[in-house]
């Protein structure tokens, strides 16, 4: 890394620490003020507000003295309820506070996702290089880290800015969060020290610990870097899930549980899993764009081969992580419904439901781009001619499923349009708008994508085992029966039985898809053991395929922004759902158009920063030639 980027990193760390210091100071010192000012009631009436919690008081009788109750039940008397800020308690800065926090939070999350994900697969690639002895893996892993290093600084800058913005613009809310999470904030801050330490020793120690036992030390550093990064992520997730589904507090927001009970809310693990997988897919997509950028900007065959391989690996990581993502999302939404049906319906049955159609378009874009890249990549080897005839069928399945997925259920129609249509739903396409049809489409698209991936992997190999035909027959049977089973489950239980069976059948559909993926991996691993390998020509891929690698991060970024908006909006007018109301001027779900503009702005901003990141990574490898001395009598 150059001196400039090191200085940027140091500055951003300083900014983050300063913000955390202000946050801790503000949060702990400001609590008394918050609770005296926010509720607008005296402390005695505060006690009355929380009195019904944990004791019974009969109407007309004298209130039971708090001390007596505490003595009998061993309760702590200092229960503090959530603040109730009025409109005037929110600073007015002339522009929407929510918009400011929205941009900063989203940028922090984008870069946070990137820098948490990249070290994860870098560690795996480095380990593969170590075990196989192939130095190309090591070089590529190091290059991935180089790209993301600037991202750590940018994450810290936006994280610090976000913390400052929140404390300035939402002081009561942040005061409450500081009170609820208490010393966890210090643990969070401490983890930054650890992550920074492991990051710099891991990156800068790469060449110093390259072989033998020292490589194990280096791999351990990478593991610890990931462990600290993941812990930071799950801690931060607990704040978001506490806001959506608070736990460890009573109905007025007073803390009644320990920190573990507060963190381990009903949505915590679904969010942890979903973000963990999504981050890897997102990270793979972004570094894939870097490889495409480098591939297109050079004519050197050796470099093109290197960046082609790098782009392939990135796409492999991105798509492989993306395959289970819809299932993790499904689990998250199921838990949202289980926690609060109202919240679930707000997300998928109300105003936000239309965004799931936009989500379908974006996921369709990702899958089509990912598949197109795999099909283009088949041209690297002559063995692919065996599988190319299948591509058109895969494309057909993908397009039909994509069209099914984007079919809306309830159309926004005028009275004359309803009359012309004969009702609010289209008589043929209407049934495609509900979940059973979507579930069929999603699962078939994932199976089709896995098939593309499998064919690509097979294209440079010829099986030599005697049971190859039987193995292929079994694989074909599994694909065909699984697809028929998914359609049967969706159609029969989705349209002809009750709702409970309809929802339950989606689990069996997911199971069928996973069986195909697992069976495909197992059978191919056994069948292509000691297989004859055909030559692959890295770098021999059409330039247009690289644009698919650009499409992936754009669609991923937009998708993350969109679904983040949905996740946050389901709280409606609450800072902390059912516990602390949002009384700010922005305490409403913004219109879809406004949200679309905001998400687009943030996406473009992120992509500009990513370009900056790529430029910095390039800059560090650029060396200015030494100026030639001017000799006497003219220019040398």
């Amino acid at each position: 890394m150059s001196n400039n980027s090191m200085q940027t990193a140091s500055c951003s760390r300083l900014l983050l620490w300063f913000s955390l210091f202000v946050a801790l100071l503000f949060g702990s010192g400001g609590m008394n003020l918050v609770y005296a000012a926010d509720t607008g009631v005296a402390s005695s009436s505060l006690q009355e507000r929380i009195a019904p919690v944990g004791r019974v008081q009969v109407d007309g009788q004298e209130p039971i003295p708090q001390a007596a109750v505490s003595k009998v039940r061993g309760e702590k008397p200092e229960l503090i309820v959530a603040p109730r800020p009025s409109r005037g308690d929110y600073p007015d800065i002339g522009i929407s506070s929510r918009a400011v926090v929205w941009v900063l939070a989203q940028m922090h999350l984008f870069f946070g996702a990137l820098v948490l994900a990249v070290p994860l697969f870098v560690l795996v690639i480095e380990f593969m290089g170590f075990k196989t002895g192939d130095e190309r893996y090591d070089v590529m892993a190091h290059e991935f880290m180089k790209i993301s290093l600037t991202g750590f600084s940018i994450t810290a800058i936006f994280g610090g800015s976000l913390a400052l913005a929140l404390f300035v613009l939402y002081p009561d809310f942040m005061g409450y969060m500081m009170h609820v999470f208490g010393a966890q904030w210090l643990v969070y801050a401490g983890l930054f020290f650890l992550e920074s330490f492991f990051l710099y020793t891991y990156y800068y120690g790469w060449n110093a610990m390259r072989y033998g036992n020292l490589k194990w030390v280096h791999l351990t550093l990478g593991l610890l870097l990931n462990a600290s990064g993941m812990t930071i992520m799950v801690l931060a997730n607990s704040w978001a899930t506490f806001m959506m589904a608070p736990s460890g507090v009573n109905e007025v927001g007073a803390v009644i549980g320990n920190i573990w009970e507060i963190m381990k809310g009903p949505l915590w693990n679904p969010i942890n899993l979903h973000r963990f997988i999504a981050n890897i897919a997102f990270g793979g997509a972004v570094v894939g764009a870097y490889a495409a950028f480098k591939f297109l900007s050079t004519r050197d065959p050796e470099k093109r081969a290197h960046y082609d391989w790098m782009g392939y690996t990135s796409n492999f990581i991105g798509i492989l992580a993306f395959l289970p993502l819809p299932f993790a999302g499904y689990w998250l939404m199921a838990e949202v419904y289980a926690y609060s049906q109202q919240m679930g319906i707000t997300a998928m049955g109300g105003i936000l439901a239309w965004l799931f159609i936009v989500q379908a378009v974006l996921i369709g874009t990702i899958l089509l781009a990912g598949n197109f890249y795999l099909w283009s990549g088949m041209s690297r080897t002559e063995g692919s001619v065996r599988y190319q005839p299948l591509i058109k069928y895969i494309a057909f399945v993908l397009v039909i499923c994509f069209l099914t997925w984007v079919t809306p259920h309830t159309l926004i129609l005028s009275a004359s349009e309803i009359a012309e249509l004969g009702g609010s739903h289209h008589h043929v396409l209407g049934p495609l708008g509900i979940m059973p049809a979507k579930n069929i489409a999603v699962n078939l698209m994932l199976i089709a994508t896995f098939l593309s991936f499998q064919l690509y992997r097979r294209s440079d190999k010829v099986a030599t085992v005697s049971w190859a035909r039987a193995g292929n027959a079994l694989l074909v049977a599994i694909y065909v029966v699984a697809m028929v089973n998914i359609i049967f489950l969706g159609v029969y239980y989705g349209y002809f039985t009750n709702t409970v069976y309809k929802v339950g059948s989606s689990v069996a559909q997911v199971g069928s898809t996973l069986v195909v993926i697992v069976a495909g991996i197992v059978i191919d691993s056994l069948m292509f053991k000691n297989a004859k390998t055909l030559p692959s020509h890295w770098g021999k891929i059409p330039d247009r395929s690289q644009y698919a690698l650009f499409a992936l991060p754009i669609a991923f970024t937009w998708l993350m922004g969109l679904m983040g908006y949905v996740r946050s909006s389901v709280k409606t007018h609450w800072h902390v759902y059912t516990v602390m109301k949002d009384n700010s001027p922005d305490n409403f779900i913004p219109t879809i158009g406004y949200a679309g503009n905001m998400i687009t702005i943030v996406t473009v901003l992120f992509l500009l920063f990513v370009l900056f990141m790529f430029w910095i990574a390039n800059l560090s490898a650029t060396k200015q030639p030494k100026p030639v001395a001017i000799s006497e009598g003219g220019v040398a």
């Binding site: 065996r386 039987a470 079994l474 049977a477 029966v481 339950g504 689990v507 069996a508 069928s512 069986v515």
Partner: protein, 50 residues
């Protein structure tokens, strides 16, 4: 999917039929399994038993 002449055509046909029978049985069993673990039992003809 790959060209391999280790097996005769008849054997390949038999393997294909067996593979489909196996896959059908496996997915039939999986449907029962995935529904029953959710407390949603099925009859032998896959209609809801609950």
């Amino acid at each position: 999917m790959d060209n391999n002449n280790e097996m005769s055509t008849a054997a390949t046909m038999l393997a294909t039929v067996l593979a489909f029978v196996l896959a059908l049985l496996a997915f039939y069993g999986l449907d029962h399994f995935f529904m029953s673990i959710q407390g949603l039992p099925l009859n032998l003809d896959l209609t809801p038993a609950g």
